[in-house]
Symmetry: C2
Subunit: 136 residues, 2 copies
């Protein structure tokens, strides 16, 4: 048979629970490194557009309009998976981040303002793996 | 000198922007595997309690009360770091998840309801590393 990507979603927008603003928060995570890139929001149009075009599409609360991520910046996020949580009010999106830059500031991730940090041994698996790989 | 953990936060609650409900969404992520565990919310009391006791403390929207995660289930989340995003309206918490179970359903992560998934080669770094490590 012909191999096709199947974009038919297992859940529809109506299966999700919206917040007080009628939106659903979406966590975007790099599908390879596991780095959390940003939190943004979807309305129904953003959700359906994301599934149709395979690129993360949010609802911009500041501009109050549909926001196809990367349309102006080039920093498109290609969808690898969308998963709802146990109570269907949050989406986790695993994405391929074009350019490795998710944040409008030019940072790889939007999370860079430290609040607290306990010291711990770096065990980021990718970094450990890369070190080991070079030895091998 | 005496080595101490420094829990003095670099940002205070007043530096953050709350949503329409007066809360800030918090993404909890396993600090070792990078797995996104859950999304929950903090109010000022939850934020300050988290920093004071070093255990993730949320505001339960359903019960409308402070929720020290793990207090009844035992599935405490020890704080490794808290980081605000570029516009200070979301927190990323890296945590050590006791028992490896974050979800009230008993699942490791709350994100298990598949919406869509494109096929891609597994490159979860921890899994790759563990395979390589066994060979070494």
């Amino acid at each position: 048979g012909i191999k096709m990507d199947n974009f038919e979603p297992k859940l529809a927008w109506s299966d999700l629970k919206v917040n007080a603003d009628g939106l659903v928060p979406v966590i975007a995570q790099d599908y390879q490194t596991g780095e959390v890139l940003m939190l943004a929001y979807m309305n129904e149009e953003a959700f359906n557009t994301t599934i149709r075009i395979g690129k993360m599409t949010y609802y911009s609360r500041s501009r109050q309009e549909l926001w196809i991520k990367g349309l102006t910046s080039g920093h498109t996020q290609y969808v690898k998976s969308l998963t709802a949580d146990c109570d269907y009010d949050t989406i986790l999106a695993k994405v391929s981040q074009v350019g490795g830059i998710a944040c409008h500031t030019g940072a790889p991730s939007c999370f860079f303002n430290e609040i607290i940090k306990k010291e711990y041994t770096e065990r980021n698996p990718l970094k450990v793996f890369e070190s080991v790989y070079q030895v091998i």
